[in-house]
């Protein structure tokens, strides 16, 4: 009998530690693993490096980590939606590295797919290209962008079965599907947890084989 990966929130967040690099998906407030973020904050954590597209808005999602001054370094494409992140970036409290959104996707995908980097036209001739290798392929120039990985990924699912097979919902899928491939430990929070065999195999977006733990959050919180 296949073993269930469902654990309590308290049990799951034991696997997130000070100073780690944490992959957190979400676009503004959608598809953000907010229950896991709250669990990590309640457990007590500091000086983490976050890789995310943005930092939600003030007081929500990743913004909760910002508000409590828990992020040391942030790799993202945009912070404009959260005034507190902008303040901490200006003061130098959070060290921010901006990466174009599509490049961020590809770098994390490369990290999860065992690829040594990607070649992209995005950012050529801009400040993003500074210090990076330009490689010419068939007469066209590309920037070499290196892979990114995390120690832990926190994932928000619409439905998961007890093995960690995941289905995402609408635009809440965003970065979740990629982020779940690129960390040493993958924790999924699910709005609904179903029995093994209840998800259509063709509809599963992240295979349970990539997931370590599942937390049932019982709806959107």
């Amino acid at each position: 009998m296949a073993k269930s990966k469902v654990v309590s929130l308290e049990e799951a967040v034991k696997n997130v530690h000070d100073g780690q690099t944490v992959l957190i998906p979400g676009f503004v407030n959608v598809g953000v693993p907010e229950a896991l973020i709250k669990g990590v904050i309640d457990k007590g954590i500091k000086e983490i490096n976050v890789i995310s597209n943005n930092t939600s808005v003030k007081g929500r999602g990743i913004g909760l980590l910002v508000h409590d001054h828990l992020i040391k370094h942030l790799t993202c494409s945009h912070i404009g939606s959260n005034t507190e992140t902008v303040e901490q970036a200006v003061s130098g409290e959070i060290d921010v590295t901006f990466v174009p959104q599509g490049t961020l996707c590809e770098r994390v995908r490369a990290g999860g797919a065992g690829i040594g980097g990607i070649l992209t036209p995005t950012g050529l001739g801009t400040p993003i290209a500074e210090g990076k290798e330009v490689i010419t392929v068939d007469g066209k120039e590309f920037l070499l962008e290196k892979p990114l990985r995390g120690d832990v990924a926190l994932i928000h699912a619409w439905k998961a079965d007890k093995l960690g097979n995941v289905v995402y919902h609408r635009t809440a899928r965003n970065f979740n599907q990629i982020w779940a491939t690129a960390a040493d430990w993958v924790i999924v929070e699910a709005e609904e947890v179903v029995e093994i065999g209840q998800l259509d195999p063709d509809q599963i977006m992240t295979p349970g084989a990539l997931v370590d733990q599942v937390v049932d959050i019982g709806g959107i919180k």
Binding site: F27, V86, T122, R170, Q177
Partner: protein
């Protein structure tokens, strides 16, 4: 029909770059205004970088929509019949891969070499570029909607951008309330004028060198 002027004229003219069935990406703010001026018989599919094709705008006040469907500003939006959702990797894959017919964005500065600066003013804004760099590098047509001059009356269309670039040599058309400028191998061409606007007025409000053809069309 009352005469269209100002930002309405910019949106009206920009919408005339779209063809029926095009997949288009509209930046937040002024670019979304294009949808109010689509020509008769032109239906476009709206791409949103956060993972959907077929967004159809905000719901009415008392209308239920799925809170998991949002646009690129994070605001809830309706999804039309035939629309679809996917992950960010797929989204930027087709953006970069040239599957988006047109991307429409604003500008802080744009120059005669087709360079665009619209993401950062050092010491003033540090929001981040979001998806703009990928969109401008990947879309088949890059359309810049902008007021011809900034709020102080200084030209925004320059010989050379001074701000950090979003992309180099990717802009195709600049549409303002005064004119349509086309980036070509021969330079930045003044192709169209707004009603009542002279070549001299455009030239005086533009810092870039313009190519002035013998015949210039009207924007309307």
């Amino acid at each position: 029909m009352a005469e269209i002027t100002g930002r309405d004229l910019i949106a009206y003219r920009t919408a005339r770059f779209f063809e029926d069935g095009d997949l288009v990406n509209l930046g937040i703010g002024m670019p979304t205004k294009c949808l109010d001026f689509l020509p008769e018989g032109v239906d476009v599919w709206i791409d949103t970088e956060n993972g959907a094709i077929g967004l159809s705008g905000p719901p009415a006040e008392d209308e239920w929509t799925d809170p998991d469907v949002v646009d690129a500003s994070g605001a809830v939006s309706k999804l039309r019949e035939g629309g679809c959702c996917f992950d960010s990797f797929t989204s930027f894959g087709y953006i970069r891969g040239g599957h988006v017919a047109a991307t429409v964005l604003g500008a802080y500065e744009v120059d005669q070499e087709g360079n665009l600066a619209n993401w950062m003013v050092p010491g003033r804004t540090i929001a981040g570029m979001g998806g703009a760099m990928d969109l401008v590098a990947g879309a088949r047509k890059v359309l810049i909607m902008t007021d011809h001059c900034d709020k102080k009356g200084n030209p925004k269309i320059l010989k050379k951008c001074t701000l950090p670039l979003t992309a180099a040599k990717e802009v195709d058309y600049i549409i303002t309330e005064l004119a349509v400028l086309h980036q070509t191998p021969n330079g930045l061409v003044l192709e169209e004028l707004a009603p009542g606007v002279s070549v001299e007025e455009v030239v005086s409000k533009t810092a870039a060198e313009l190519v002035i053809p013998a015949e210039i069309k009207s924007m309307i």
